[in-house]
C-alpha cells in the first residue's frame, strides 16, 4: 500500500464493527467511524466488520476505498449464493 492511501477489508458479520489502525488513528478516529458506519448501513444494513489500515488517506480516498471493499465483498457473497 502506498502512502496517502488506505487498505480496507470488509467481511459479513452479525453486527457492525470497525477496526481502524494506522498513523492517524488518534486524530481521525471519529471521522473514519462516521464514514465507515454510514457506508456500512447503506451497503449492508450495518451487518459488516470493517478493517481499515490508514496510511494518510484523504476523506475522498477513504470513501472510495470503503465503497470498493463493500462492493467486492457483496460480489463474493453473491457468487457464494449462486454456488450453493
Amino acid at each position: 500500500m502506498e502512502s496517502s492511501d488506505c487498505m480496507v477489508v470488509v467481511a459479513p458479520a452479525e453486527s457492525y464493527s470497525l477496526e481502524y489502525g494506522g498513523q492517524n488513528e488518534a486524530i481521525f478516529g471519529r471521522r473514519t467511524e462516521r464514514i465507515a458506519r454510514e457506508i456500512a448501513e447503506r451497503r449492508a444494513s450495518g451487518r459488516a466488520s470493517v478493517r481499515i489500515q490508514d496510511r494518510g488517506a484523504l476523506e475522498v480516498t477513504l470513501r472510495a476505498r470503503i465503497e470498493t471493499a463493500f462492493e467486492r465483498a457483496l460480489e463474493v457473497e453473491k457468487e457464494g449464493e449462486v454456488a450453493r
Partner: protein
Amino acid sequence: MNAGQNLKMVKNALGREVPVEIPGLGKFEPYVSPFDYLGRALFRTQETRPIRPREPRHDKVTDDIRKAVERSGLENGMTISFHHHLRNGDAVVPAVLKALSEMGFKDLSLAPSSLSDSHDMVADYFRNGLVTRLFSSGARGEVGRAISAGELDIPVVLRSHGGRARAVEQGEMPIDVAFLAAPLCDKYGNMTGSGGRSACGSLGYAQVDARHARHVIAVTDSLTDYPLRPRISVPQYLVDQVLVVDSIGDPSKIATGAARISRNPVDLRIARNAFDLIAASGLLTNGCSFQVGAGGASLAVAAYVKDYMKENRIKGAFGLGGMSGYMIEMLEQGYFEAMLDVQSFDSAVTDSMTRNPNHIEIDASCYANPFNKGCTAHNLDIVVLAALDIDVDFNVDIQTGHDGVLRGAIGGHPDTAAGAKLAVVVAPSFRGGVPTIKERVTTVCTPGETIDAFVTERGICVNPRREDLLASARAARLPVKDIRELKEEVEKLTGVPDPPEFDRSRVVAVIENRDGTLLDTARAVGPGPGRGLV
C-alpha cells in the same frame, strides 16, 4: 507519576500559558518579543569554572570508564553533558549512562546538545532514577514518548542551539562533567571531528561544553600521535581526561551518504515556490548569506539558488549552519566565499574541513547565542526552515507530532528565524492526510513574528507583518495566498483532525525562547480516544 503539579502559570505575549517557577528548575519569565532582551539591563556575567592545575607530563589517558568517572568527581544531583554530532550513530551516551547506572548514580541532570534516534535507551534511565532532569534541543522516539507520558517528575527544558549556548555561557546551566565523543584525539586531549573511523565533521556543539564544563572527558576510539594535526577543534588545555573505548559509534549512521536532491514533485514545487520568493525578495546579491537544511524540499531550494547564482554571476559571502555535501559543493564551485559549519550532516562533509580552508568550524555560541557579542545567525540574509506544523499567526511547531507526543528537535530554527532578514518556512500543505496549518500549533517553538513566509506546494503565505515582501511577491506574480485561505483550501481535502487530548494539569516540558524566556508548555498526552477496536 505524580498527579497535578499545581504550577503557577501566566500567559506570555503569544497567549500561551507558561509556569513562573518549576520546583527543581527555578524561576522563569514569560516570552515577550524576539528582541525584548536588548532593552533589559546587563545580564549575569559568565560563570567561571574551577581550574585544577596539572603537573608536567600528567597522564590523561585511561581505558576504564569507571576510573574516568571517579576522577571526574561526579556526584548524585550533578549535570552531565554530551554533544550530538554523531547523530543516529552515537554510542557514547548509551555507554556512559550504562556505566553511571551500574555505578549506582542517581538523580543526574542530562544536558546533551540534542538527542537522536539512537537514544531510545535514555528513557530507561528516567525509569530507574539515574536521570531526573533533561535539558535538550529535542526529544524523539522512546524518549519523546516517555516525556509526553509524564514519566519525568520535573519538566524537561527544550531550547534552541543558540539558547543552550547562552544558558551554558551565562552559567544558567552549569555543566559538571562533559563526556565529549572525540572521533580523532591525541593523548593530551586535542580533538577533532574531521578524521578517525567515526568522523563527523564539525564539533561546534562540543566546543561550548569544553570551554565551560567543570570537568571534560574526551571519549575516543581513535587515539592518534601527539600532537593532533593539522586541525584541532577542542584544544588540550580544556580537556581533563582522555577515555579510550572500542567504539564511539556506528560510522554508517554517523556519516550517512550524501543527501540527494529530492525528486518528489511536491517537494520540488515547494522548493520552486520558495526559491521564487527568495529571488523576489532581492536578497540574492553579491555578498549574500544563506542557510538551508538537508531534508525534503530544503536542498532543492539550494539547487535553484545555485542555478540562479550561476546565471546571474552572483557570489555569496557565506553559507551557515548544519552543513550538507551540497553546500560544500557550492563552496568548492565558488558560489560562496566560505561555509561556517556548526554541525555537519552527511559523509560528504566529514573531511572537507581539512581540504577546504574556507570551510570553517564554528561553535554553537558563535553560531546562534543571542547574548554574546555577535553571533553569525544575526548576520544571516536568508534561511530556509522546515516545520511540522504552523499556525495562522505563523508560530511554528517543530516538536510535537499529530498525536501530541514530543518527537522533533528545535535545533537552530528560532535562532536563525530571529536573525535572518528573510526566514522562509517550507512544508507540504498537508502530510499523511493531515493539514500543516493549524488554528493554533500545539507547541510554539519559533514565534510567528520571526517568520516572514510559509511556502507550500499550493502557494506562498507571506506574514502580514512583511508588507514589503508581500508587495515584491505580488509584483513577481507569485502564487500568494492568505494563510487562512490556504488553511481552508487544504481542510476541504483533509477535513479538520481532532486535536490530541492532553492532561492539562501535567506539564512535561517547557520550551525556552533563545533568551531564556518561556515560549510554551508541553502537557502530558492524556487518555486518547479509543484505539484499535472502536
